[in-house]
């Protein structure tokens, strides 16, 4: 279960990404997108370890993105990092607010409530033209990074480096969290909440913490994406996008924090390949992959537990669904 990720491999991967981004400017956007999707999917992974799947988490990407946009527009000359920070804070706050009641729900209802909330947000973002720019989204001037105003080329490279270092650092920290007491309690929520209560632990508060963390992760992804594109749109919070994040998390598997990023890499490659070779069938490609993964490797790229017989007791999730 705790096979350590070889640092060599990670270092190699990091170098590869940097090299690609440096050599081929066009590859920067896809790479940044992949890293951001990885971060977002990591957020979903946090919840998935507790057996919960949110079909509305993209809303935090939207919150993060819009908050970033508002920050840049409200304070001209504000540093990109500060704006992104504002985005993350906003999504954390929103996450905390929602977690307060969502943490009571499990299984399908957890997913549905999140979906409902995200759709409210999505619809408002598209409707309140005066504030959000409606369905076209909100554009803003490219802010300086660390006080340096940059050409787009440099800016994207800088964003790539930023996203990459954030991804590596955060993945490491989140993995620490997975192995920590709270992280292990999350796993226990998945298998037996009743017992948790009976040993004096509150599943709800632990799940709520996890939820805030996941909201923050998705929010960060949203903030970075908005920043690099100087644009945030309601689509960033549409339920299809939430579905894609879940897709990636499943694809990667929740056994290790790196899973989300492996999943995102595969997802982005599929998208690029589809865009390049069969424009009309990219969804078929994604759908087929998803089915195949769920069928053959439900544990994802990094399987998250040793093969074990089917649980003798019905899991709460299964109960809920009945």
């Amino acid at each position: 279960m705790r096979t350590p990720i070889s640092p060599v491999a990670v270092a190699l991967a990091v170098l590869l990404v940097l090299a690609a981004g440096w050599a081929w400017p066009w590859s920067r956007m896809p790479i940044i997108t992949f890293l951001c999707f990885g971060l977002a999917a990591l957020g979903l992974t946090v919840l998935m370890r507790a057996g919960q799947v949110s079909f509305g988490h993209a809303m935090y990407a939207a919150v993060g993105g819009y908050a970033t946009a508002f920050a840049v527009r409200a304070f001209p000359g504000i540093d990109g990092l500060a704006a992104a920070a504002a985005g993350v804070l906003a999504s954390l706050a929103a996450g905390a607010l929602v977690a307060a009641f969502v943490s009571r729900y499990r299984g399908i209802f957890f997913g549905m409530l999140n979906l409902g909330l995200s759709m409210v947000l999505f619809s408002l973002a598209g409707k309140l033209y005066a504030w959000t720019g409606g369905t076209d989204g909100l554009r803003f001037e490219r802010p300086p990074l660390l006080g340096v105003a940059m050409e787009r080329g440099q800016f994207e490279l800088a964003m790539l480096v930023l996203a990459l270092s954030l991804a590596v650092g955060i993945a490491w920290m989140v993995q620490r969290y997975f192995d920590s007491c709270a992280g292990q309690v999350m796993l226990a929520i998945r298998t037996n909440e009743t017992r948790l209560e009976y040993i004096g632990l509150s599943a709800r508060s632990v799940l709520a913490q996890g939820y805030v963390l996941s909201a923050g992760l998705v929010g960060l992804a949203g903030a970075l994406l908005a920043l690099v594109q100087s644009l945030v749109t309601p689509e960033s919070g549409y339920w299809i996008r939430s579905g894609e994040y879940v897709f990636i998390a499943i694809l990667g598997g929740s056994g290790h924090a790196i899973g989300a990023f492996l999943g995102a890499a595969v997802f982005e490659l599929i998208k690029l390949a589809a865009a390049a070779w069969f424009t009309d069938a990219w969804q078929i490609l994604l759908g087929a992959t998803l089915i195949a993964v769920i069928f053959f490797a439900p544990q994802g790229i990094v399987g998250w537990r040793r093969r074990a017989p089917k649980p003798a007791q019905p899991t709460p999730a299964a109960q809920e669904a009945r």
Partner: protein
């Protein structure tokens, strides 16, 4: 095991990167091909407009290349689907715009996307032709070096719409608007509104409805309009949305009880058949109309319409005309620049300079680009009428509105300019009848 998986994932990434890099060579004096990064709606409600335009472009480029291209240099289009959402679209756009080699972008339909991609194109120093989107803001709010629009903008379309309405129905009291809820719907309404109130201040706006882009059902809006009974109903909606709205409106007799003004109806008339009664004011987003009597005796236009009709089964809509205009402007600019350059292949900047004062012709009347990158294209407006020759209404009482009376001078913002218009404009002598 895990590290292996990691390596594998990254390995594929690397291979993919290399594969694409292999195609990258240093740019030759005269490139073998010009890469056209073209975007249109291939999916989603808007694809009604996008799909035919793509068909037209493929058809035209095919012929152009068959005829030898730009003395040997061929056009090779790559398409981006605008239907996949803004950020997917934008990253695709960047990928194409950053590919090595001679390239030119023709993008996009959505006014929202145009607003978003213009600064990107400018940053990447790649020429982008906004071939369809109409929001006037994009070229008015900022001066671009590499961004051009070879078709009309919202100001021309809306001012002409108001003029045509006032010419036909000078004394109406109330007006309601039903526009799509995005940049185009909002911006076009702003222009129309200000123009109308400048030319006819006593009009009362009784309802401003903005159903969301791609709404499948407008029956509540129709009910509300029927309850309000406005004299005039304006809608700058287009594509699938306009189809639905018009069908439901006509089914419930709204089209008869109110005078409809539909500046972008051209692309819907053929699909709607007799759902649209006679007497509706329709525009052509420019002056390209397959039944335009003045282009009837122009062989090129006639041949194209025929070929397009048999290729796609439909008559060209305004997006098709805009696409051809864009392609002809682009190729025309290359020809011009090559000539000015004595056969030397032009740099991007030279090409941009040429475009800035280019005169060209699509399949309708001549067009001129001006130094802010906006084309000056006259507007054709008419009124629907039944015609034995077609199973759907055609436009009659056509009037042509030359561009220079519809647009502010370079550097002035439309929103302010239209407020300065005087009622005398309605009788301007430069507005001329087309056909009988």
């Amino acid at each position: 095991m895990k590290s292996l998986a990691t390596l594998k994932a990254w390995g594929t990434a690397a291979l993919f990167a290399l594969a694409t890099a292999a195609t990258a060579q240093p740019q030759p004096q005269r490139p073998a091909e010009i890469k056209l990064g073209m975007s249109t709606f291939m999916t989603g409600p808007a694809s009604v407009l996008g799909a035919p335009a793509k068909a037209a472009a493929d058809m035209w480029i095919e012929e152009f290349n068959a005829a030898g291209g730009l003395d040997g240099t061929k056009l090779s289009p790559t398409w981006i689907d605008e239907g996949q959402g803004a950020d997917k679209f934008l990253s695709e756009y960047r990928r194409l715009a950053q590919e090595p080699g001679e390239k030119l972008m023709l993008s996009a339909i959505s006014s929202g996307y145009c607003n978003a991609l213009a600064p990107v194109a400018e940053d990447l120093k790649v020429i982008n032709i906004l071939w369809e989107c109409s929001t006037e803001k994009v070229l008015e709010e900022r001066r671009y070096k590499y961004v051009f629009r070879t078709g009309p903008n919202g100001t021309m379309e809306m001012v002409a719409a108001v003029l045509h309405l006032l010419k036909l129905k000078p004394d109406f009291k109330t007006l309601a608007v039903v526009n799509q809820d995005y940049a185009w719907g909002r911006d076009s309404w702003e222009i129309f509104r200000n123009t109308l109130l400048a030319l006819k201040p006593d009009v009362k706006i009784v309802a401003e409805l903005f159903p969301k882009f791609g709404a499948p059902d407008f029956s509540t809006e129709v009910t509300r309009l029927q309850a309000l009974r406005p004299d005039v109903v304006l809608s700058t909606a287009w594509g699938g949305d306009l189809d639905t709205f018009l069908r439901q409106a006509s089914q419930r007799g709204l089209l008869k009880s109110s005078q409809f003004v539909l500046p972008l109806a051209d692309s819907s008339l053929e699909r709607l058949g007799d759902a649209v009664p006679a007497g509706v004011i329709v525009g052509f987003v420019g002056d390209g109309y397959f039944a335009d009597p003045e282009s009837a005796n122009d062989p090129e236009a006639r041949a194209f319409v025929q070929k397009f009709k048999q290729r796609t089964g439909a008559y060209p809509n305004f997006a098709v005309y805009h696409m051809i205009q864009a392609l002809k402007a682009a190729t025309g600019a290359y020809r011009q620049a090559l000539a000015d350059n004595k056969g030397q292949w032009p740099t991007t900047d030279q090409l941009a300079a040429t475009l800035r004062k280019l005169e060209y012709r699509g399949l309708s009347r001549p067009i001129r680009l001006r130094e802010d990158g906006q084309a000056l294209q006259g507007q054709l407006y008419g009124v629907t009428a039944k015609d034995a020759s077609q199973p759907f209404p055609v436009a009659r009482q056509l009037l042509f509105y030359p561009a220079d009376i519809l647009t502010p001078p370079v550097g002035q913002k439309s929103a302010e300019w239209v407020k300065t218009l005087k009622p005398a404009l309605i009788q301007d002598s430069r507005i001329r009848r087309v056909g009988n």
